[in-house]
């Protein structure tokens, strides 16, 4: 008997599954189809302004920097200033995200490279799929627009988030994702990112910047404000 067959036989035997599996199968199909929601924390359930305020508080609580901008056109200048203030070179890497590509980077003197991250990249810029207010979490999806390596290889990760994409809770982020990818389908990678990388494995103290970015800078574009 194959390992697979034997494991399934053991599971069914242990669960004392009888011949009639129809009610069990129905139970599984129902749950997978309807994906019932459980307990949703009240704290993320405010209006758009409350969600933005909560997102900001929660992200800052876990050591992310958050800057609010009134329009997308301010993004290149905001990044140029940020890099200058931190003494970082005026170069960055991003994917082919159309929202970022439409910005006028030339005026800022920033050197922008496209594609997946290279180990030598110090700064990468991504466009988030969503933000989750309840814990200040960014949701990023893989693909040519925003390659996953941008999220982990650089020292500094800058993430652009539209205020309109901030949802209250994880469940709302999944709903948003299903609208784009379809029910039961996912991009290769979905990253929930909450603050910069950290570790408590050395000397029992929490230190920022373990393997991933030491700095997580979030630019929230709030065009409705």
């Amino acid at each position: 008997m194959s390992a697979r067959a034997e494991i399934f036989a053991n599971v069914r035997h242990a669960l004392a599954v009888s011949g009639n599996e129809a009610p069990r199968r129905r139970s599984v199909e129902d749950r997978l189809r309807h994906a019932p929601q459980g307990v949703i924390p009240a704290r993320g359930q405010g209006d758009a302004a409350a969600r933005l305020a909560l997102f900001r508080d929660e992200a800052e609580r876990v050591s992310a920097d958050v800057t609010e901008l009134e329009s997308a056109q301010q993004i290149p200048a905001a990044i140029a200033t940020f890099l200058h203030d931190r003494n970082l070179p005026a170069r960055l890497r991003c994917g082919s995200d159309p929202y970022l590509a439409a910005l006028s980077w030339e005026a800022t003197g920033l050197h922008v490279e496209k594609g997946r991250a290279d180990p030598s990249d110090l700064v990468c810029v991504s466009h988030a799929f969503a933000g989750v207010a309840e814990t200040g979490t960014l949701v990023l999806t893989s693909g040519g627009d925003n390659p996953t390596t941008l999220n982990f290889l650089p020292d500094t990760h800058i993430v652009v988030l539209n205020a309109a994409d901030i949802v209250g809770d994880y469940e709302a982020a999944w709903q948003k994702l299903r609208m784009v990818y379809g029910k039961g389908l996912m991009p290769r990678t979905v990253n929930f990112i909450t603050g910069p990388s950290r570790s408590a494995d050395i000397g029992h103290s929490l230190l920022l910047g373990a393997h991933g970015p030491r700095t997580l800078h979030i630019l929230v574009v709030n065009e409705g404000a």
């Binding site: 390992a3 697979r4 494991i7 053991n10 599971v11 069914r12 242990a14 669960l15 599954v17 599996e21 069990r24 139970s27 599984v28 749950r31 997978l32 994906a35 459980g38 307990v39 949703i40 924390p41 009240a42 876990v62 594609g115 991250a117 180990p119 309840e134 814990t135 893989s142 693909g143 040519g144 996953t148 390596t149 999220n151 982990f152 994880y170 469940e171 999944w174 996912m186 991009p187 290769r188 990678t189 979905v190 990253n191 909450t194 603050g195 910069p196 990388s197 950290r198 570790s199 408590a200 494995d201 050395i202 000397g203 029992h204 230190l207 910047g209 373990a210 393997h211 991933g212 970015p213």
Partner: protein, 482 residues
């Protein structure tokens, strides 16, 4: 690095742990942090207790339909272009992984933290085939340098002090300048980051575990703070997920419920820094990610826990809260438990996985204070399950001779109430008289295990039953019937 279990000599291990000054120092530094952080995180979320119920119910629902959810999960992985492998034992899982590595001519593999890989002894199996495994979680890297097992399921190197880590780095990173300053923990962190970055870029295969599998989408999930698991799985051309069959949950909604209790129970964070959902290999047009995606699903005794007293243990989400709150774990650390899983969850799980004959002392390594159950995010009745193991030990004659003899003697009297009352009526006043000067005994025959570390209080004279009768009579005389 998995050695053969030493769980059977827990008592000896525990004594050595008490003598180990570095270990006691490290345990002392950790003790309050975990407990206070969890309490603060739970207090900050009014829905926390309701979410614990929800998490428990989701896991219980899934386990009752495990065969069907595994089928659904497997189907979705295949649709996404991934491959699912099934392993009855740790050896089978290791062989599957070695075969994949060899097919790709792998020389080095990077590894994210995986307790299942500790369980199968994957590192030794890879090394025996000439493939170098590199642990990339900082804690796992530290213990790999020392050829030790993890002492905690989420903080594997929690038993090490900063001084020990510096010494290990100086010994192992011999190509770095010996005069470098490693006083600050940040310097140690930066050094590890630099050394491991090279390993990430050179790896031929990346191996991670999985905290959860989602049947709805065929997704595997890892939860980390460092980002090492992500670098492990997105840089090499092959990603292998090694995990076990009970990790599956139905939907993204379901896993969201459980994520809300996982990090809060573990480290006191609201959510870990990186929660990563992986579905199949790189897609057309993706500039990064692995070209092959394999999932190895291990049983290793889990299927036979279903439908038994120990099925509740399969709900465990490996947060470590039961370890952090256990007075025994706090006193002796994780290595004393002698195998991969320490603390209360280990005391229940280890006998299921390696046999109670090889781990007999573990269900007794408990004060039965109940702290573990009170903090378990999926409400596993750990003390009850330890009691079940004790019953089985007694049934199978594995309990120590003196304990069985003592229980037998007590049982003889307990089943004969008149004799019991007579015996206690004689013994109690006698003990009271013998201990009258101090009110306690500093030595007692047959009980030196107790009196070696604390006094035994002398009885006050009357037996409990005699006092109870007297009280009932007095109450009846006063007519209040209470």
């Amino acid at each position: 690095m998995t050695a053969s279990p030493t769980s059977a000599q827990f008592v000896l291990n525990a004594h050595q742990a008490f003598e180990d000054e570095q270990l006691q120092k490290a345990l002392h530094l950790t003790r309050e942090g975990f407990v206070a952080n969890r309490a603060a995180a739970a207090a900050r979320l009014p829905e926390f207790e309701a979410l614990r119920d929800s998490a428990r119910d989701i896991k219980a629902h899934t386990l009752g339909l495990l065969d069907l959810y595994l089928e659904a999960y497997e189907k979705k992985v295949i649709e996404a272009g991934g491959t699912v492998h099934w392993a009855r034992t740790g050896e089978e899982a290791n062989s599957i992984i070695i075969e994949i590595c060899k097919r790709h001519g792998a020389k080095t593999v990077t590894k994210g933290k995986s307790m299942v890989a500790e369980e199968t002894g994957l590192n030794d199996a890879l090394a025996a085939q000439g493939i170098s495994p590199v642990e990339t979680d900082l804690g796992e890297y530290l213990i790999q340098l020392r050829h030790e097992m993890p002492s905690h399921i989420i903080a594997p190197a929690v038993h090490l002090t900063r001084d020990q880590i510096e010494a290990d780095f100086r010994r192992n990173h011999a190509d770095l300048p010996p005069e470098r300053d490693l006083t600050e923990p940040t310097a140690l962190l930066a050094e590890a980051r630099g050394v491991l970055r090279e390993k990430f870029l050179a790896a031929d295969v990346g191996i991670t575990g999985a905290n959860f599998l989602v049947a709805e989408t065929g997704t595997s999930i890892i939860v980390t703070n460092e980002g090492n698991g992500d670098l492990t799985q997105i840089l090499p051309p092959v990603h292998i997920v090694l995990t076990s069959i009970e990790k599956v949950v139905p939907t993204l909604e379901d896993v969201s419920q459980i994520l809300r209790v996982l990090a809060r129970s573990a480290t006191g964070q609201d959510i870990s820094v990186y929660t990563t959902f992986s579905t199949g290999p790189r897609r057309p047009g993706d500039p990064d990610g692995p070209e092959e995606y394999h999932v190895v699903l291990l049983d290793n005794g889990r299927s036979s826990m279903l439908g038994t007293d120990f099925a509740d243990m399969l709900r465990c989400i490996r947060c470590g809260a039961c370890l952090n709150h256990c007075p025994v774990y706090q006193a002796v650390g994780g290595h004393a438990y002698g195998w991969v899983y320490p603390g209360p969850m280990g005391a229940v799980l280890t006998p299921s996985l390696i046999g109670i004959d090889k781990s007999a002392p573990l269900p007794n390594a408990s004060t039965f204070c109940g702290a573990c159950e009170s903090v378990c995010p999926v409400r596993i009745p750990l003390p009850k399950l330890m009691r079940h193991w004790r019953e089985r030990q007694t049934e199978r004659g594995l309990a120590p001779q003196a304990q069985r003899w003592g229980l037998g003697l007590w049982g003889f009297f307990a089943r004969r109430p008149d004799l019991y009352r007579l015996a206690t009526r004689i013994a109690m006043p006698l003990l009271a008289w013998l201990g009258r000067s101090e009110g306690r005994f500093s030595r007692l025959p047959l009980a030196n295990g107790w009196t070696a570390t604390r006094d035994f209080p002398a009885p006050q004279g009357d037996t409990f039953q005699a006092q109870w009768r007297k009280r009932t009579k007095t109450a009846a005389a006063h007519g209040d019937g209470e």
